[in-house]
């Protein structure tokens, strides 16, 4: 097990709280009709995004999914600019033209969320090819969902990455459903990591609610890829507490199942660990939580106060 420094644990707890508060704030803004565009929330799944983001080295790249807020926060994006983008404001990451599905910070290595399920697989191959070509020593972290691994692009990307030994870690956030479809109805295997065998890529299945395991396995996988040994496929089992999107009646799963998973809430697990191991005092934890919360309040304020995009800019940025 890779050791976790106090500093990392602090950032982890802060960011995981940020991610949780971010999602709750968005839920609230959706309810109030302040956001009424398409947004997907990852409440309950924050550990995979946040913890693996912290396992990255400076300069590493990331490709995010449609359910990418925690992934973005883990990578280090600015919650103000994220929230502004969700509200379609001119100050957002994409000047209000992209929305939640296209948050990106390309110059800093975040090559974007994606509205196309599985869209990031082959893009990640390209980003990794650049690293290999330029010998940067950087790795690409490619997020995807369980459902996404049934897209043809998953297969083509895994195969290419393996043949070319590209520095990529594919992290599959297996939340047991693709939209409403339970995994047993969309694939006939127990563990998605078994798919690595078809490409001679190491495949690992981990508990996506356990920050310790995520950090350990991701750090080692990133090292493996960084050493030029090729890609790694990591599957993290996790669970989404909220609906797939804002208008999901969730008829496809039982409240018992949701409750069972809520008991494994990754944020509580982390908090319990920090308490039990006395990494931080109760007061310190409260302070961290408070700061995380206020960062999100500020982000919402920033977003709400920001200007709508000027309508005359709508034709800008079609061509570089």
């Amino acid at each position: 097990m890779i050791e976790l420094s106090e500093e990392i644990l602090l950032r982890m707890y802060y960011k995981m709280n940020q991610a949780r508060f971010f999602e709750e704030k968005v839920e609230d803004l959706l309810k109030r009709g302040i956001i009424d565009e398409t947004v997907y929330l990852s409440k309950g799944e924050e550990a995979t995004g946040v913890v693996s983001g912290l396992a990255l080295e400076k300069g590493d790249l990331v490709s995010m999914t449609h359910r990418g807020h925690a992934q973005a926060i883990g990578f280090g994006l600015d919650v103000n600019l994220m929230m502004a983008e969700l509200l379609g404001k001119s100050t957002g990451y994409c000047k209000g033209k992209g929305g939640s599905l296209h948050i990106a910070d390309v110059l800093n290595g975040n090559i974007g969320a994606n509205g196309i399920v599985g869209g990031g697989f082959t893009l990640s191959c390209g980003a990794a090819l650049t690293q290999k070509h330029k010998k940067t020593g950087q790795v690409v972290l490619c997020f995807a969902g369980d459902g996404a691994t049934n897209e043809g692009s998953f297969h083509e990307a895994m195969n290419l990455a393996s043949v070319w030994k590209l520095p990529i870690v594919f992290l599959i956030e297996n939340n047991l459903y693709g939209m409403s479809t339970p995994i047993a109805k969309h694939m006939n295997i127990e563990n998605i990591s078994d798919r690595g065998a078809g490409y001679n890529i190491p495949g690992l299945t981990i508990d996506g609610t356990d920050f310790l395991e995520i950090y350990d396995v991701m750090t080692k996988s990133l090292r493996y890829a960084r050493a030029g040994r090729g890609p790694v496929l990591v599957e993290a089992k996790t669970y989404r507490f909220c609906g797939h999107s804002s208008d999901d009646p969730q008829v496809y799963r039982s409240t018992e199942e949701v409750q069972q998973w809520q008991e494994k809430d990754p944020l509580f697990r982390l908090k319990k660990y920090l308490q039990e191991n006395r990494v931080f005092t109760g007061k310190q934890l409260e302070t961290i939580e408070g700061e995380a919360k206020s960062s999100i309040e500020q982000a919402a304020e920033f977003a709400l106060e920001s200007l709508e995009p000027d309508i005359t800019t709508v034709l800008e940025d079609v061509y570089a």
């Binding site: 009424d36 379609g88 033209k97 969309h186 709508v314």
Partner: protein
């Protein structure tokens, strides 16, 4: 046209379901496949209840595998079923283009006429959701450039029902384009379960003598609103809805232009390379050419990806007032 007895007010979305349901009751070979269409009832609630009626053997939830959805539908159609399949958003047809274009559309021809591919590909399209550049496109122009495909798009609930039924009964691959913004719109729908809308027939939605507007999808209603407004000023707009975008029945449009001498063509899709260009070109090639009193005007989407912000989004597709001003312009009133 068959006799229409009973009518019922219903939503566009429900009219599609009604049409599909009737055809599935009528013919056991009709199956329906797509993502989350079963228990969930489809991303837009379109297929709610269909799983219960027809069971998992005929309402098939697929993995997220668009290429396989289309390819499987083509293979099933080729061997005796009549599949209806759905892309959750039309934008995802990009992932099924090979099976659609290189296989389904061409098989009847490539095989020298020996096989049929009776399938319907349902494609929820267009803006209005704030769903951004990858979930809002209107890509019908691509499909209207593929010999072997038919492309239809209904603009009212009645058309939705009649056309989905005709599409299912057709022996060719039919792309059925559903503007998402219309799903919640209401209208009277014939309950007759033999009510169909003929594929390949252009409809005159409103007669008039001053200006011809060709519009389909979401823009038909906007054009109709503009026409109602203009009527009060004594301007009579003729509105034509091609319904079948490919192969298109041009005759009513040609005749209308001969009568009015002025033509507006409208769609949400980007102007350049859109279906409107084809219509304009056909008119410029036709006998109507000599009757044109003004250049043809295209009111179309801008040549830009669809932006996320709802204000920006609305600014890139034509609105009611664009029709009003377009008509003024052709009549030299501005």
């Amino acid at each position: 046209m068959m006799e229409i007895n009973e009518m019922k007010k219903m939503k566009y979305r429900d009219a599609i379901r009604l049409g599909m349901t009737e055809e599935m009751r009528r013919d056991d070979a009709v199956i329906f496949l797509g993502e989350d269409i079963g228990r969930y009832g489809g991303a837009f609630g379109l297929s709610a209840g269909m799983l219960d009626e027809f069971g998992e053997e005929r309402v098939l939830d697929t993995p997220i595998s668009e290429a396989a959805i289309v390819g499987t539908a083509v293979g099933a159609a080729l061997t005796g079923l009549r599949p209806v399949c759905e892309m959750m958003h039309m934008d995802f047809v990009t992932l099924g283009m090979d099976a659609l274009v290189n296989q389904g559309a061409k098989m009847h021809y490539m095989f020298g006429g020996q096989a049929q591919v009776p399938l319907v590909l349902r494609l929820p399209a267009g803006t209005g959701d704030g769903a951004g550049a990858q979930h809002s496109q209107s890509l019908e122009a691509w499909l209207c450039h593929v010999p072997g495909l038919k492309v239809v798009t209904p603009s009212t609930p009645a058309q939705a029902k009649g056309l989905i039924k005709a599409a299912i009964r057709d022996n060719n691959p039919v792309c059925f384009i559903e503007p998402k913004a219309l799903y919640q719109t209401e209208g009277l729908v014939p309950l007759d379960d033999d009510y169909t809308i003929e594929i390949g027939k252009t409809l005159i939605e409103r007669p008039g003598k001053d200006v011809t507007i060709v519009a389909y999808g979401t823009l038909l209603a906007k054009a109709m609103e503009a026409a109602a407004f203009l009527e009060e000023e004594g301007i009579e707009v003729e509105i034509i809805n091609p319904v079948t975008l490919y192969p298109m029945d041009m005759q009513p449009i040609v005749e209308s232009v001969i009568k009015t001498g002025r033509l507006i063509v409208a769609h949400e899709a980007p102007k350049t390379g859109g279906v409107g260009g084809e219509i304009a070109a056909r008119i410029a090639e036709s006998e109507a050419f000599d009757y044109l009193n003004a250049p043809i005007l295209r009111l179309c989407g801008m040549d830009v990806p669809i932006p996320y912000s709802k204000e920006l989004e609305a600014s890139v597709v034509p609105q009611r007032n664009d029709f009003v001003h377009g008509v003024y312009r052709l009549l030299n009133r501005e």
